[in-house]
Assembly symmetry: C2
Homo-oligomer: 191 residues x 2
Amino acid sequence: MAHITIIGTGNMGQAIAGLVTRGGHTVQLLGETDAATQVSGDIVILAVPFPAISDVLSARGASLAGRIVVDITNPLDFATFDSLTVPADSSATAEIASALPESRVLKAFNTTFAATLAAGTVGPLTTTVLIAGDDAEAKAALAQVVTDGGLAAIDAGGLRRARELEAQGFLQITLAAAEKISWTGGFGVAA
Amino acid sequence: MAHITIIGTGNMGQAIAGLVTRGGHTVQLLGETDAATQVSGDIVILAVPFPAISDVLSARGASLAGRIVVDITNPLDFATFDSLTVPADSSATAEIASALPESRVLKAFNTTFAATLAAGTVGPLTTTVLIAGDDAEAKAALAQVVTDGGLAAIDAGGLRRARELEAQGFLQITLAAAEKISWTGGFGVAA
C-alpha cells in the first residue's frame, strides 16, 4: 500500500484523491497554503496551478527530498490562451526537477481532465494517465497506484517528454475552452 | 465536389486518397518526384516525409499559389526519436507557410495514423482529424472533405497550434515505436 500526499484541494486534487483511495491506497490531502503540516507521503502530488508551484517549493522543497514528486500542471498563459508560460524548449516539469534535485520528479495527470479521472472513462475508453520521467522505479510506483484505482497508465518516456505532454494538455484545454470538446471528454488512448 | 491533389503515394497518401474518394470527392495522386505533372487540386496535400518537403516546394512552389496546402508531417529526428528537427518555438507548418506566402497553409492528419484514417476508427471512437490554420474558409473546406469521408474533424485553432499538433504527433509515434500503443490505435478524441 502506498501513502500519497496531495497538495491542493481543487478539482484535480480531489479527483486524484478519489483515484488513490479507490485503489486501496491512503491519502494525505493538504491545502495549498497549509505549510505547517509535514508531508508524509512517499509520493507527493503537486495539484496546484503552475503559478503557485514556486511558493509550494519555497515552503516545502527540503521536505520533498527523497520523495517521488508528481507535477500535474499545464502552465498556460491564461491571459491569451495562446501559449505556455515556460520556454518552448523546456517544460514546467523540467523547471520543477531543476528546483528539486534530490526528488524523483514525474509528469502525470496533465492530459486527463478531472472529470475523466473521476469517471474512469474518456467517452468509451478507459482513462489513461500518461507518465513521463527519468526514474523508471518512480514511474512504476505511480503507475501501480493509477491502475489499482481502475485507470490505465502508460510510461510516456523520459522527463523530456513532459514538453509534449504539456503541449497536449494545452491543446486539450484550448479545445474545451472553445467548446470543440467537453470538459468531460478529451483525448483518450486506444492501445 | 472538391478536387484534391495528394503529393506522395506512401501509406498516408494512400489512406488520405481513400478518405477523399469515400466522400465522393476526386483525387489526383502524384508521386513525390513527379514534378512534370501539373497540380490540379484546389486542395493540395503534401503527404511526403518532412525531409522531402523542401524539394517539393522548390519544384512546385509557384504552382501552389492560391491553393489550400495541407502539411501532414511529423518532423521527427529519426536518429534519436527524442526531438523534432524544427525549432522548439516553431513548427514544420510555420516553415512551410513562410515558404508559401501566397498559399493558404493548414496542418492536419499528423495526429492520425494511416490505419485509423483507413478504418475510420481509433479503438471505439470515430477517427478525428485535427486541423490548424489561420484561414477559416480553408479549414472548413478541408473539414468538409474529412466529414464527407465519414471521419470527424475539429478546428484546432490558428497556425500557431501546429506546434502542439506536432508535439502530439511526435508523442504518439514514440509511444507506438515503444510498443506502448499500436500503429492501429493512438489518441482518439471523445467530444
